[in-house]
Amino acid sequence: MDDEPIELIIDGIQVSAVHDATILEVAKQYGIYIPTLCDLEGLTSFSGCRLCLVEIRGSPKLYPACTTPVTSGMEIITNSEKLKEYRKICLSLLLSERTHVCSVCIANNNCELQDLSNKLGVDHVSFERNWTKHTIDSGHDFLVIDRNRCILCTRCIRVCQEIEGAHTLDLKNRGKDSQITIDFDALWGDSCSCTACRKCAKVCPTGAIYIEDELISKTKDKNVVSFLLKRRMYK
């Protein structure tokens, strides 16, 4: 029974999907755009950024598309006015949480947060901004982390654990004080587990982790995860 495809509707289009597929995967398959920020193909999704929220007819709640599995007969709306407004609020909150100053950021013009703000029409942030003074660690030979530009998408943590298998990076503290840490809160230069594979810098959506003396456009490579998984013969 489980092999039978699931039939559902996304934005009025009749689609079919396999079991265990998430809404985001199915939408991607059919070329329906749902904005994402923390999600990256090949890494475990954890619905952190809330940009992929969708409406499901018959439910007052909003659901993150990246972790909600499809079920038979679902009717999904991905681009209502309500969702557009909510996504703008999510982006505004991300922008207001830390010091995001595009004009002096290394990732200017190569930043997913900046691109999405443009794409989804965030032309200003109505919340009062936090001007943070989190730490910058440039002690590593070439890897630099500026925690003021971090949006806590945890892509770096997931790629470090799931793809590289090093688990050098992790989170500490809670809420707005959350920080990416290296080993047990060590400096990057002193880390004994970091393999200097650079994958964290490649998948970072903003300018939080970057490689010194290298063009950010050259560093960034979102496809590194799916490329490696393909090479390792995973599905």
């Binding site: 010091t99 100053v101 595009c102 004009s103 443009n118 794409k119 029409g121 032309d123 942030v125 901004r129």
Partner: protein
């Protein structure tokens, strides 16, 4: 038709680098056509003491950093129909607001500029407008009608906004403007 019947335009420079003004001037020869359509009543290059009343469009570059700018902003808002925040400093605070991360940011910037880096007679100047504790983007201190982000906004965007506003339409910045 007399000069006064034309829609009026004002441009103001708060705490920014004047890059937005440069970008505005980068409209190049189209400025001539724009000059036929509007009357420029206030700008950093026009020698007018007070901000005029009943201005149709005011573009403001820069963040609000001192008390003079704050009172000026209130004066401008009262005399303007459509207020446009021009550029990242006006929209977000941008580089000027980086001092907000410090507890005594107002003192820290003065000290850095006039004491730490000064070789001759280092002292914090007196008689200049008092800096605010925090740097504010315009919309945190008044109501802003339209936002034109960018550092600087492209001259095409500035021209587009002015053209739309002069035609009585609302400019749609979605997808054409960006921060930074």
């Amino acid at each position: 038709m007399s000069e006064n019947k034309k829609p009026t335009l004002a441009i103001i420079w708060f705490s920014g680098c004047s890059g937005c003004h440069m970008s505005f001037l980068d409209i190049d020869e189209v400025l001539m056509e724009l000059a036929k359509k509007v009357q420029l009543v206030y700008s950093p290059l026009i020698d007018v003491k007070d901000f005029p009343n009943q201005v149709m469009i005011t573009l403001i570059e820069g963040a609000v950093t001192n008390e003079e700018q704050l009172s000026m902003l209130k004066r401008v808002r009262a005399g303007t129909d459509i207020l446009v925040a021009l550029g990242d400093c006006a929209v977000t605070g941008n580089v000027a607001a980086l001092r907000n991360a410090e507890i005594d940011g107002d003192f820290a910037v003065l000290k850095r500029a006039y004491v730490d880096t000064s070789y001759h007679n280092p002292q914090i100047p007196k008689g200049v407008p008092k800096l605010l504790k925090r740097v504010y983007p315009l919309h945190e201190k008044t109501t802003v009608d339209y936002y034109v982000p960018g550092c600087p906004p492209t001259s095409d965007n500035i021209l587009y906004v002015l053209t739309e506003l002069l035609a009585g339409r609302a400019p749609q910045m979605e997808k054409i403007s960006k921060f930074g």
